[in-house]
Symmetry: C2
Subunit: 195 residues, 2 copies
Amino acid sequence: MAKRSGEKYHVLIDSAVKTFARTGYHRTRVADIAREAGVADGTVYIYFENKEDILVSLFQELMISFVDNLYCELVQCQNATEKLAAIIKYHLSILADNPDRARVTQIELRQIDQVINEGISKPLLKYFQLIEEVIEEGKMQRLYRQNLNTRTARKVVFGAIDEVVTCWVLSSKSYDLTALCEPVYDLLVRGLQEV
Amino acid sequence: MAKRSGEKYHVLIDSAVKTFARTGYHRTRVADIAREAGVADGTVYIYFENKEDILVSLFQELMISFVDNLYCELVQCQNATEKLAAIIKYHLSILADNPDRARVTQIELRQIDQVINEGISKPLLKYFQLIEEVIEEGKMQRLYRQNLNTRTARKVVFGAIDEVVTCWVLSSKSYDLTALCEPVYDLLVRGLQEV
DNA sequence: ATAAAGCGAATGAACATTCATTCATCATAA
DNA sequence: TTATGATGAATGAATGTTCATTCGCTTTAT
């Protein structure tokens, strides 16, 4: 039974992020992660069920802390519009600061398999929920249109941010991602249209 | 040397789309595609370099026809705003009508490997360019804001549409995707904001 | 002394790819 | 017309490699 805790567990998670980012999920051997962590191949199986479980666990760790920290940022905001700006800023900043993490979430985690998909969807759903709550709040505060479909709006908001990050990762991170906070925010709130 | 043409080539492409959609790229064996196409395993290698080449070729075939046909739709539009609506409608309709194709483009093709990535990016770039041209046109026609960053706007537009499709695929296509044309269009053009 | 943690060589299953061979088609020559 | 030969598409069994995973043993901690 996988241990899922302890010092080595976290070392292994970090090594996996680094290795998956460098080599890609399917190309990294479990032995590579073990070497990166400075442990034997078999040790990996004390902490994880199997290779797939490493990817899923890693995402859960990252995503849970992501949502928790984002939540802390949001409670400090006054209204929905401030909150939306905070979401964009937080999302872009975290990944701009952690290129390996960005590569893994944008590219490697999309190697979806039913199992991976199920392991991923729960923590991701929390994030989606958070965005939807902010949109609902905006409607209540009469900042956003009443006829907005919250679910669809969330998809547009998340999709936009996600695509911006993916482009940045694929461009070999050659520019400052956080510079896009304002243009993206503007586009989402005000749209393309001329005032 | 891979042939890349002939009747069997197209049969194989179709079989690959179907098989990748059903089993996922990494889980399908080349033998599965061969069986689906009703040919021997070795025959696949007359038409394709290797397994990866099947995925890349398939995407190129799909994407080239996608862009060509979309282009035909666009020339019939009067202005940029009509064109944007046409892009969304075309993008969503094509995938709504071809669930296997949708699964492959949204999920399986994201199994990015350097090689796959390079094979994919060229035809995709054409689509991006098309979107950017429409945005530029909208700025010229004073329909869209002058201070819009075209590149960023394109990412937001594409990201929004793409996310909407991915959600639909992951939901097992349980609702009518094309019903989202208008809400998505509205969000992109007018944004979230109350008028 | 006992249990837990760690080791890493060995295992074996999975699967992409190869290649010797077959077969149908068609051009050429007798 | 008929035999001969050339071509290359198609076959599918065999190959070889790649790794994830296991397990018997060793070390460390309590």
